[in-house]
């Protein structure tokens, strides 16, 4: 019971933190926007007569000073209205959520590749540090970290789409609409379209996670309990997997969880290269066309994603390591 109450307190604390961060982002967004520019110019161009511009500005609520605009926005947000997109003329939350499945499936594909490859590779590099294979993996991971994700995508497209013509280069292909979720995972074409973007996105996360797994495993393998287990006659594979890896998961989840923001940024770059119709691609379109409500709502969702993952990471760490008490995590 005590644990549960502490958990609720932690969640509350996280929420307050998140609300503060998002308020800060909003204040900056509104202040920057009013100080720097005229969104109307981007929406309708310079040629529209003054009277019409003023009318439109009033309609969109752009004639008020920015604190008033911010207050109005917050008032609407409280009722679930995050504004209407200038480009799509639909509620921004609806526009962005419609793009969520595309981004999610891309991240899912990349995460599967990262998980399936980084854990065995990281363990191998930790238990056989001087083997040729381990050294090659680590050298390759320096290369992987050095190649920007958009270039990986461009090279893959050049080789597999332009030269060999094996795989499609852009878009999601055929999708199936499940009503609430538009998926590309159920058609051959959709899966073919996913291959290159997923490999691209995983290529930048993979070196990082191999190093993480390796580092965490090396730490654990140095502990006495590993030697004790070996002395008792446990088979090496069993010691690595069910003893060391289990304990290595704690720092792994904590550090890996911090990478959400980086993952969002890399997803945005990957979506741009492959014209993948996800949230990041939509965000850049909103930016170039100065669709301020859409930009603001995107930032809102990104903030929300941060909070959710951070909380999940806290809960996961707790489940994996009984030594961490909730009171201790602040």
């Amino acid at each position: 019971m005590k644990e549960l109450a502490a958990g609720a307190a932690l969640l509350g604390q996280r929420l307050i933190q998140a609300v503060l961060v998002m308020l800060a982002i909003l204040v900056i967004a509104f202040a920057v926007r009013s100080a720097l520019g005229d969104p109307l110019r981007e929406i309708i161009g310079e040629a529209v007569p003054e009277a019409e511009r003023a009318k439109l500005a009033q309609e969109l609520g752009l004639d008020a000073p920015w604190p008033v605009q911010l207050a109005r926005y917050l008032g609407n947000a409280a009722t679930g209205d995050l504004g209407t997109s200038y480009i799509y003329k639909r509620p921004t939350a609806e526009v962005i959520l419609a793009k969520f499945p595309a981004s999610f499936e891309l991240v899912l594909g990349a995460s599967l590749i990262v998980l399936l490859l980084s854990v065995p590779a990281g363990i191998y590099c930790a238990v056989r540090p001087s083997a040729f294979g381990a050294k090659s993996i680590l050298s390759l991971s320096v290369l992987g970290i050095s190649v920007p994700v958009f270039l990986t995508g461009i090279f893959l497209i050049t080789i597999f789409s332009v030269w060999l013509g094996w795989l499609p280069a852009f878009g999601r292909g055929d999708t199936v609409d499940l009503g609430f979720w538009e998926t590309g995972l159920l058609t051959r074409d959709g899966l073919a379209h996913l291959i290159l973007p997923a490999i691209t996105l995983s290529s930048i996360m993979l070196p990082l996670f191999i190093r993480l797994v390796r580092g965490a495993m090396l730490d654990e393998l140095g502990h006495d309990y590993v030697r004790t287990a070996r002395a008792k006659g446990a088979r090496p594979l069993r010691v690595w997997l069910s003893h060391a890896l289990r304990n290595a998961l704690v720092p792994l989840v904590a550090v890996g969880g911090l990478q959400v923001g980086t993952l969002i940024a890399y997803t945005l770059l990957t979506e741009t290269v492959f014209q993948w119709p996800g949230m990041g691609f939509l965000f850049l379109e909103a930016v170039t066309r100065a669709d301020v409500p859409l930009i603001t709502t995107y930032l809102f969702f990104v903030g929300l994603l941060f909070v959710i993952t951070n909380t999940l990471v806290d809960i996961l760490s707790l489940m994996l390591d009984p030594r961490i008490s909730l009171e201790g995590t602040r």
Binding site: L36, V147, A265
Partner: protein, 306 residues
């Protein structure tokens, strides 16, 4: 830069080079790229910022080793008829400049904060550490993208392009100071406990003098290592922002901008406009990263490779 390391180990450069072929190759590649970028105005056959000097009739010519090329354009031309070789030279110059200046800002913020946190401890320490943690948990690349996107939406593309260099330097500079702060803090903590610091204090030296004149020179090695990897990170961040259209404009392209503007042409067959600047960018990043790793090994005798 690895020269200091070599002197420290009192071995000849050649012996070091024979032992570390990777680092040597990286030093050579970086040296060539850096020198060519520094002397770009002298080497480049064309000024790639002077839009009036391009001829659309020269557009999309391939590099000279391919059919249909023009001997005037070593690496071919882009969609506007701009000489790609000149554009890459100037672009590398911009990428390097933004990267290095951004790291200077990172160091200017992070090193003093970290030094003081490590030396003073207590409340200063926890405040700095907390700030660094918060900033790092927000993902620096994502923050840079958001800030540049807000400027892009607020200012419009044209105004943004005029102030692109200072904006990129400041945004990338502000984003990653915690890496310097952390390193400086950890190193200063170790140094603060040593005898020379206590002796200095006993002799009546001010805290400022102790921190800046005595501790700082002693922790320069780890800071140099961080600076090297941070330069690679900053160059990569700039390239990413420019690739997204949130960085350097087409009129004053960095490597990232060149890759972006050439990308549309790739499907039309003109792959060189995007691939060649991409290869230069990768060469630059790999060589800086490998140099950073080599410096870490050379400057830190405690860190024996596992």
């Amino acid at each position: 830069m690895s020269a200091e390391a070599i002197r420290g180990n009192s071995r000849s450069i050649l012996a070091y080079a024979a032992e570390h072929p990777g680092a040597t190759l990286a030093a050579i590649v970086f040296g060539i790229i850096a020198v060519m970028a520094a002397f770009a105005p002298l080497i480049a056959p064309q000024n790639p910022f002077d839009l009036a000097s391009f001829d659309l009739l020269d557009a999309e010519l391939p590099p000279i080793w391919l059919e249909g090329s023009d001997p005037r354009f070593l690496l071919g031309t882009d969609a506007q008829g701009r000489d790609l070789f000149s554009a890459i030279l100037y672009g590398t110059r911009i990428s390097l400049m933004v990267g290095i200046l951004a790291v200077v800002i990172q160091a200017a913020i992070g090193v003093p904060l970290g030094l003081w946190a490590g030396y003073a401890g207590g409340r200063v320490d926890s405040a700095v550490t907390r700030m660094a943690d918060i900033q790092l948990s927000l993902s620096t690349l994502m923050m840079a993208i958001i800030v540049m996107a807000l400027f892009r939406a607020g200012l419009g593309g044209e105004t943004l392009s005029r102030y692109a260099v200072p904006l990129l330097v400041i945004v990338i500079g502000l984003a990653e100071w915690p890496f310097f702060a952390r390193t400086a803090r950890a190193a200063a903590q170790v140094e603060a406990a040593k005898d020379y610091v206590r002796a200095g204090r006993a002799l009546g030296a001010s805290s400022f003098a102790i921190v800046h004149r005595h501790i700082l020179p002693n922790i320069s090695s780890p800071l140099i290592v961080v600076a090297t990897t941070q330069v690679a990170g900053a160059i990569m961040a700039e390239a990413a922002l420019s690739f997204l259209g949130l960085g350097m404009p087409v009129t004053k392209p960095s490597l990232g901008t060149l890759i972006r503007s050439g990308y549309d042409l790739m499907f039309a067959g003109a792959w060189w406009v995007t691939i060649l600047p991409g290869l230069v960018l990768i060469g630059l990043l790999i060589s800086v990263n490998v140099l950073g790793d080599a410096l870490r090994d050379a400057l830190n005798p405690r860190l024996v490779r596992r």
